[in-house]
């Protein structure tokens, strides 16, 4: 079969690899119909996530058709159209029982490596480094899905592939980011980053009752989508983020701040040089400009919600502000399985149209170029969907 493989920093290629197959009883094999490139894939592309190996098959956002099931997957049959959550979760452990699926204790075969980095291991994730299991990803013609009896969700006939696709990652991610803000009537929520995750966080914050959402980015096409989703927009290249937020909230600061940017934040001046050098020398793994700002901007007693991905160590985090302003910080890889059903219902009744963020539809051969285009935000690219059937 053909698959998108990681071949090194800024090197992604299409390779012919052996077909995916059932290995464990609870596995299924899915023939991928649609896959997407996620902002998280860019961290792999740019080489900031440790534990990648040449030849790793990428992709954790995909949906498709069941072609084979193991003996432990009675709920699925050949031909079912399903969307697959990116966290690989057993459904049986302490964390899965509490619906904290991305913390599943049983799905990362390399848990010992992750424990060295973080003390404990999260779940395994498709196509997301050997630290998180080394599972082959879904930017491929076929993909093996472990614990297929609990993960994949059937897509109703009336729902299109594209409408269902984002239920596996970014839609729940934006939603959980907003839910983590504990939004109450009258709240103002500031969202850094108007990529797919930020945009879904904006829509979700609105749905959850925020009175005001302020969207921060620098790309006009992204800001204009944020505006369409109901946010006031702040272009940080034209206005100073911290000063403007202070002014727009009468000095108090937003009730909640969402970092939908992650470890590769774009920064200016000294701060940028400082983090870029330290990151290049591997003295820190992140460029944490956005968390710094979010903590600084957040009102006293407010919440900082961090869906943006970080992998290791960051410097100069204003911990003093966290303590003295009594902030709450919430984060995590998304517990996708928890949100798929309710969000599917919101798509079905027209509350959310996830397809509005798609800007590019391509075939597998164009994927390597698309990584570069998405990374550099060229051609007004916001979200790339790969049609695997073509």
């Amino acid at each position: 079969m053909r698959a998108v493989c990681w071949q090194g920093v800024h090197k992604v290629g299409i390779e012919e690899v052996p077909d995916a197959r059932v290995i464990n009883p609870r596995d299924a094999v899915i023939k991928v119909r649609k896959a997407a490139i996620c902002g998280s894939d860019l961290h792999l592309y740019d080489g900031y996530v440790p534990g990648m190996m040449r030849g790793d098959i990428l992709g954790h956002e995909f949906m498709g058709e069941v072609v084979e099931t193991g003996s432990g997957v009675p709920n699925l049959s050949r031909g079912d159209r399903v969307v697959v959550p990116f966290p690989i979760s057993c459904g049986n452990c302490f964390f899965c029982e509490q619906e904290m699926y991305s913390l599943c204790e049983n799905s990362n075969p390399n848990a010992r490596l992750a424990e060295k980095f973080w003390g404990h291991s999260p779940c395994g994730i498709f196509g997301y480094s050997h630290l998180l299991g080394g599972y082959a990803g879904g930017q491929a013609e076929y993909v093996r899905v472990p614990f297929a009896d609990v993960g994949p969700m059937k897509v109703p006939d009336a729902m299109s592939d594209e409408q269902a696709l984002f239920l596996g990652d970014i839609l729940p991610t934006g939603y959980m980011a907003a839910e983590n803000c504990n939004i109450r009537e009258g709240d103002t929520v500031a969202v850094w980053g108007c990529g797919p995750v930020g945009l879904f966080a904006i829509m979700s914050a609105k749905l959850l009752g925020a009175s005001r959402v302020i969207a921060i980015d620098r790309f006009p096409e992204r800001l204009s989508l944020a505006h369409r989703a109901g946010a006031e927009i702040l272009n940080y290249e034209e206005m100073d983020t911290l000063e403007t937020l202070r002014e727009w909230t009468g000095g108090r600061g937003p009730d909640a701040c969402i970092d939908a940017v992650g470890m590769e934040a774009h920064m200016h001046g000294v701060q940028h040089a400082y983090d870029k050098v330290k990151q290049a020398l591997r003295l820190e793994t992140e460029r944490p400009g956005v968390v710094r700002e979010a903590i600084q901007a957040c009102r006293n007693g407010g919440t900082v919600s961090v869906p943006g991905v970080y992998g290791g160590l960051a410097d100069k985090i204003p911990l003093g502000a966290v303590v003295n302003k009594a902030l709450t910080i919430k984060s995590g890889q998304t517990h996708v399985q928890r949100y798929m059903k309710p969000l599917m219902a919101r798509i079905e009744n027209g509350e959310i149209d996830p397809t509005m963020i798609i800007t590019h539809r391509i075939g597998i051969d164009d994927v390597p170029d698309a990584y570069q285009m998405f990374r550099d935000k060229e051609d007004d690219c916001i979200k790339v969907v790969v049609n695997m059937a073509s």
């Binding site: 390779e15 052996p18 464990n24 190996m53 030849g55 302490f94 075969p109 390399n110 050997h130 599972y135």
Partner: protein
């Protein structure tokens, strides 16, 4: 520590000079060095490595607390390997040279590990004979069920990766066969000392075994009655005679992490009915180093 100074001074000293030499080169000619080992012009990083090399080299040469300094070399080597890994991903590096250097550094690492192990072993010989192993893990299933799974001895090879077989040969007595990397086979007989259903089991090896140990596994109810905390305790006695080498190999494999990995697989089997793995899944073309590491993966 005194023993180690008299036993391996030659090894310590040559490692020391190697460190100082490598360190000077990295410090004074980082660019040339960078080009030579194929990592491009990462001068600052190489200078840092250089300082670290010299510090540990001088330490080794001065003969003070060699175990600590040899250990700092191990840490340093791992750091070098990690950097080489990092530079493999950097666009201006030359993969074939980096690979060659990685092999050289890996060789040095092995040497360093050997030096520090010899020292550790001689300090162990002074201190105590037994090698204790403790491991513990929460399993989301009641104690009597986890106990029952374990008590069925033929279940054990399903999650103990180095175990080939266990057979009950008489009441309370069983025969065990394990295979270590490199195909070395270990056999022992073990008898159950205590058996409290749903709570604990303890055992000891009987005379004539190739490896001597006493061990116990406890199944304690988790906090609030949730699940089971499985606690394994094993003491390996270091035998003399021909079995010594085999036992030493087992101990060198870091039995604590082996037991922890075994417990993890036990947890997966009991909770999910299978063991998470990626073995047998497809991948694109691996690099040479990737193929080397790939064998280790679960």
């Amino acid at each position: 520590m005194a023993a180690s100074m008299t036993r391996e001074p030659v090894l310590d000293r040559s490692l020391g000079w190697f460190s100082v030499g490598l360190g000077m080169a990295e410090l004074l000619a980082p660019k040339a060095m960078g080009r030579m080992i194929g990592v491009g012009e990462q001068s600052t990083v190489l200078r840092m490595c250089g300082v670290r090399e010299i510090v540990s080299g001088v330490g080794l040469l001065s003969g003070r607390a060699p175990a600590t300094f040899a250990m700092s070399r191990v840490v340093g080597d791992v750091m070098d390997l990690a950097l080489l890994g990092a530079s493999l991903r950097s666009p201006d590096s030359n993969p074939s040279r980096v690979a060659a250097t990685a092999t050289a550094v890996a060789g040095v690492t092995a040497l360093d590990l050997y030096a520090s192990k010899v020292e550790l072993q001689s300090s162990m010989a002074e201190a105590q004979q037994d090698v204790p192993v403790h491991a513990s893990l929460m399993i989301n299933s009641p104690p009597d069920q986890v106990y029952a799974f374990w008590r069925k001895l033929e279940n054990l090879p399903r999650f103990m990766s180095h175990l080939e077989s266990v057979a009950e040969v008489a009441q309370q007595r069983s025969e065990w066969t394990a295979r270590l990397p490199g195909g070395v086979q270990l056999r022992w007989q073990s008898e159950i000392v205590e058996d409290q259903p749903g709570r604990l089991m303890s055992w000891r090896t009987v005379a004539g075994s190739e490896i001597n140990h006493v061990g116990s596994v406890r199944f304690e109810p988790g906090p609030g009655g949730q699940g089971t905390q499985v606690k394994v305790e094993i003491y390996y006695g270091m035998p003399g005679g021909p079995a010594a080498a085999k036992a030493a190999q087992l101990v060198a494999m870091a039995p604590e992490s082996l037991v922890t990995e075994d417990l993890r697989r036990l947890k997966q089997l009991i909770e999910t009915g299978e063991i998470a793995t990626t073995q047998g899944q497809p991948a694109g073309k691996r690099s040479m180093i990737g193929r080397m590491f790939g064998k280790e993966e679960s």
